[in-house]
Amino acid sequence: MQIIKDLHERMVRIRLFETEAGKLMEAGKLPGFLHLYVGQEAVAAGVMAALRDDDQITSTHRGHGHAVAKGVGFREMYAELYGRVTGACLGRGGSMHINDLARGMLGANGIVGAGVPIAVGAAFAARYKGEDSVAVTFFGDGATNIGAWHEGANMAAILGLPVVFVCENNGYAEFTPQSGHMLLTDVADRAAAYGMPSVIVDGMDAVAVHRAAAEAVERARAGAGPMMIEAKTYRYFDHQGVKGLRHPYRSDEEVAEWKARDPIDLLEARAIADGTATRAELDDVWRRTRDEIAEAIAYAEASPLPDPADLLLNVYSG
């Protein structure tokens, strides 16, 4: 099945991009913040495999996975992390601001919840122009406590816009567990308040995420309005950076339990069991991706820095 291979490749690309970025951060090579996505790959892969290039996404502070899965190139992503002029934001944005208009990546975002209304606007534009593209907005469990999230959800619903709301519920907002920031067990319940249908999926199962996303996207594209998907998932690394936990806010056992259901391991086991791919084929994806990443990092490191004389670049257009 082609979709399994597609999901696998997208997940491997995210996993390797992220683990290498983490190593570069640990080595002191990257400035700024790094919110790693490892563990949540099935969500980005599953959703993005249901999208076209002209479909738009808005992302979060934890946005690398979304960008990679949407097809943004390793070169411009690493160059951006390094603050090079060849980066996705010409070195102006860094990890939290990667974007790529050509790929429908409307930007990672440093402000929690801020991407939600922007996706609603992108969906509005699609309908206004008579195009059939959809917009997908990614957000965490914590972000659904922000006013902009609720206003965006209601706006999308009342205008009947082609938006898919994807909650990546990794159980934590920074260091606060979900139970410490909302009384709901399922974030999906929030959709009902706006008359929006919702579905809960296993966020470690890329195929399940993909099925749900394909349905929501198809619905939206057909004009049936917004829908919400809540994917229950987990992040392996710390909220920011790789390690350096000051206070343990979750147990080693909990982390180990989730890792035992690693989304890539699960998909590989499934692919091999049903004969979709051989171990050698899967290994080949890892190998090719590793090579591509090594090349992209070398490219980033060899890239020039931005010129301070261009400080005012792109403040205004025209």
Binding site: G83, I111, I146, F175, H181, P306, P308
Partner: protein
């Protein structure tokens, strides 16, 4: 305009004790909480985790979950919680983590907290303290690095303080909490770990009173927040060239102690204003205008302003470094002022 509601209670200690800026803030907050049972703290990850900048370390242990409250990521509701609680007599300290996030809750700060006393005919006050970390220098980019004091200082009813070192971080924090008005404390992210001498006992620094951080006769440098340290470093550099600059730290940018500045200008006849924020529409413009309104005749050169270029804060360290004013640019500015006349 200067309003001073209390005298500083600083008694020199025998053995000077060094404390980091963030620990000094923490100590001031803890002492203010001990002093007044009505003080409580609310914000994202302030209690269990102690704040992402360690501002609130150990406070949960001492004050418990009644007075240290972790909130959802809901800044508008967080500030609103503070406004409502303050209107009912409590003294909330609410934390906004990064200053940039005030964009999410500006209505509660500007239209509610700042105007409530006025609109209630003086019948109530809003003793709300908002803490936040401002400034560039960590590669945190456009949405996590801004210095937005000019937005806030423009709003009647708000007070805004910018501590430049550990000593002022503690004293201004205590005063902010004791003050009956909404006060925003802009801590500087780059300064968090910097250490300075801090008395152990509780003390307040009057809001609205500038401090002359260094005396000099040739140029007055008025520096905000982290720029005070840069100005002092520039002063050392210039002293080696035989130039003596006076460094004034307003400490509070709203209300602003202009009298101390005017007195200095009358002695030095030259002024440079420096802040991290974008120059256009920044407080440098306000200070320059007030100086020319009041002590124009004493000026030997136009007031010079140094601030950031008119751009969002860039990510790449090479750009960020060029963006933020530093000691070299301050020293250069002083030399330029001296070349005139």
């Amino acid at each position: 305009m200067t309003t001073t509601t209390e005298a500083p209670a600083v008694t020199p200690v025998a053995a000077p004790r060094k404390l980091s800026y963030v620990k000094a803030f923490n100590e001031g907050l803890a002492q203010a909480m001990r002093e007044d049972e009505n003080v409580f703290v609310a914000g994202e990850d302030v209690a269990g985790y102690g704040g992402v900048f360690r501002m609130f370390d150990n406070l949960l242990d001492e004050f418990g979950p009644r007075r240290m409250i972790d909130t959802p990521i809901s800044e508008a509701a967080l500030v609103g919680l503070g406004v409502g609680a303050a209107a009912r007599g409590l003294r909330p300290v609410v934390d906004l983590m990064f200053m940039d996030f005030i964009g999410v809750c500006l209505d509660q700060i500007v239209n509610q907290a700042a105007k409530m006393k006025y609109m209630f005919g003086g019948a109530l006050s809003v003793p709300l303290t908002i803490t936040t970390a401002s400034g560039a220098g960590l590669g945190a980019a456009a949405q996590h690095s801004q210095s937005l004091e000019a937005w806030l200082a423009h709003v009647p009813g708000l007070k805004v303080v910018m501590p430049c070192d550990a000593y002022t971080a503690k004293g201004l924090t205590v005063s902010a909490i004791r003050d009956d008005n909404p006060v925003v404390i802009m801590l500087n992210k780059v300064l968090l770990g910097s250490a300075g001498e801090v008395p152990e006992e509780i003390y307040g620094i009057p809001l609205g009173q500038a401090h002359t951080a260094r005396h000099g006769s040739d140029v007055t440098v008025i520096a905000l927040g982290r720029m005070v340290g840069e100005a002092l470093a520039a002063a050392d550099e210039l002293a080696a060239e035989g130039v003596e600059i006076e460094v004034i730290d307003p400490r509070t940018v709203q209300p602003l102690d202009t009298e101390t500045m005017f007195a200095s200008v009358r002695r030095t006849n030259r002024v440079l204003v420096v802040h991290e924020a974008v120059t256009f529409g920044g407080l440098g413009a306000e200070i320059a205008a007030q100086i020319q309104d009041s002590v124009f005749d004493y000026l030997d050169a136009p007031v010079l302003r140094i601030g950031a270029p008119f751009s969002p804060v860039p990510f790449s360290p090479v750009l960020e470094k060029a963006y933020v004013p530093d000691r070299a640019r301050i020293a250069q500015g002083c030399r330029r002022l001296l070349e005139r006349s």
